[in-house]
Symmetry: C2
Subunit: 337 residues, 2 copies
């Protein structure tokens, strides 16, 4: 088993290339600090559809098509899609990716799904199971609020620890063809439960899982935090970021100098009323595509650890008094020189 | 790419072994034709828990532990779990498998998830990503009715085309250690939509997807139906079975002599009031574990094509007038001599 390293990681013998990516977002994301970097900013968050769920499906379809076009590939060139979203029974993915007519592995890892899909796509390409594979994830503010919280019309107040679900989809083409960025390794997360029961404080619920995966990655690869230009979590937000840094300090690692959180980067919380930050499968995916990958392509970053974080709950589990466990999947992405 | 065959399949160069499996079911499944074959039949469908969802989680936890025990493995020996269920945000899986403390890839493929989890587990082992990997899926009649249909107390009438969700979980250990059964190939399904809108006729919704995957499997591997001792769909039931056989005849293949459907096998619909048959992620998983694998171990079956079938809908997609597309994932399982 030459490729497995340590307890939970893989270092790919033949690291797959991240050939292209695309990001499509809603109006609020377009008005945020990264607004000019996204490939497409929708003129209205329904994206020409009748329902929020169809709008989210359209995001996935368009992001996937755009990523394929950038890699100069047709859909027939893609062997598998690894895709997922936050909605019950993954309906945004089903209806979004159906027309592509590509074999589909449906995934659910809450907001960690961007990491899960990149991990499995990299595993598939590195094993020779396909020359080109797509990883696609999405979230939509309005479909997620309807799924997890309250009808928008109810105008429920949101605590300061709450995050704002990103409207967006990120799609990534991984393949064997030479490019300037590679996925060199992964660290797959376990479900970690600290007993948090507040679904409006998902940063606190997910920080222990992020800590667990980052700690394990550093151990498995024998690296220090400064061996990464950035250690990038998905959507811990400001509350979760503080907890993560503290938890890792207790385990002997100080990541404060290299930590970045996509949920903090994507909005200006002072002016955009997004409280602790952004969240959702789309948050880390579009930030990776629009903001982080260009720096890896140019070599500004040589190596990053990308760690999307997920809060594992449903309205049923929440209403039945269950805790909100977390999960985080780590993906090592490097400039390929 | 020596392992990929045809348009959608993999033939494993080093086929992983299916080392052990376990099946745990509810009382109704225990009273059915396969009742004596299951490892555990619960005395009551709450399995000692307070809620149906916790009961389903317990099914997964116990099935996974039992499968590990049969393979003489500890949880520390398992590199990954590929797991999923039917509930929104996969909560049965999250809370069921959390205590195992094993890196988790959460999956959603509706009732096809047993095929999806076996496919990805086999891909991981064959690629050298882990010596032992678990594939676990479940469904529970009461948690599924609550999720997709009506409260049980409402005692809604069910049309003859409806299926009965199986209460059960099947767990499978795949690994590199020599055993008597191997997963030799897979054919991964696409989302197939014939525009069926009746969620009480899921057999009709899933049959085109089963047809697509079986046809592709026969094409990719250059096989005829009789090259399999059985071609086994997950939960088409009696309505879906007829449609599948007709659709494949139109494409030049007659599978009527070798077709089996887990949903038809698991209940006696005459006496058990289950209408078209059983369904759910658990249906194909427990039937594979209790009924099909023993025949493969003994060599009664030399080679089967196992094709769990999923209907991709949620209450939201249904209420918004969407169709019910299907997906089916094929797994080739062989006696290893």
């Amino acid at each position: 088993m030459p490729q497995t390293v340590g307890a939970q990681s893989i270092q790919f013998a033949e690291a797959p290339y991240l050939l292209s990516s695309a990001s499509i977002v809603g109006t609020k994301e377009g008005e945020g600090p990264l607004g000019k970097l996204f490939d497409v900013v929708g003129a209205d968050d329904k994206f020409g559809e009748d329902t929020w769920e169809e709008a989210e499906s359209t995001l996935q379809k368009e992001a996937a098509s755009l990523a394929l076009g950038k890699a100069d590939l047709k859909k027939e060139d893609v062997r598998y899609i690894f895709g997922g979203d936050l909605l019950g029974q993954n309906i945004a993915t089903t209806f979004g990716l159906m027309e592509l007519n590509i074999p589909l592995f449906g995934l659910y890892g809450a907001c960690s799904t961007a990491g899960e899909s990149l991990s499995l796509a990299a595993m598939a390409v590195a094993a020779g199971y396909g020359e080109n594979v797509l990883a696609v994830t999405s979230s939509h503010f309005a479909s997620a609020e309807k799924q997890f919280r309250f009808p928008l019309e109810y105008a429920n107040q949101r605590p300061l620890s709450a995050t704002w679900t990103v409207t967006g989809s990120g799609a990534f083409v991984l393949g064997t063809r030479r490019g300037s960025v590679r996925v060199t390794g992964i660290t797959t997360g376990k479900v970690v439960d600290y007993g948090i029961k507040d679904s409006m404080n998902m940063g606190a619920a997910m920080a222990p899982a992020a800590c667990d995966t980052i700690y394990q990655n550093l151990q498995d690869f024998g690296r220090r935090p400064q061996d990464y230009d950035k250690i990038i979590t998905g959507d811990l937000g400001k509350v979760g970021q503080g907890i993560l840094i503290d938890l890792l300090k207790q385990k002997g690692y100080d990541i404060s100098a290299v930590h970045m959180d996509c949920g903090i980067e994507i909005y200006d919380s002072e002016t955009q009323n997004t409280n602790a930050g952004g969240s959702g499968c789309g948050c880390s995916a579009v930030t990776l595509s629009a903001y982080i990958l260009p720096k890896l392509r140019q070599g500004t970053y040589k190596r990053v650890l990308f760690v999307p974080t997920g809060a594992l709950l449903s309205t049923v589990s929440f209403n039945e008094g269950q805790s909100v466990p977390g999960i985080a999947h780590g993906v090592v992405i490097e400039h390929a020189g």
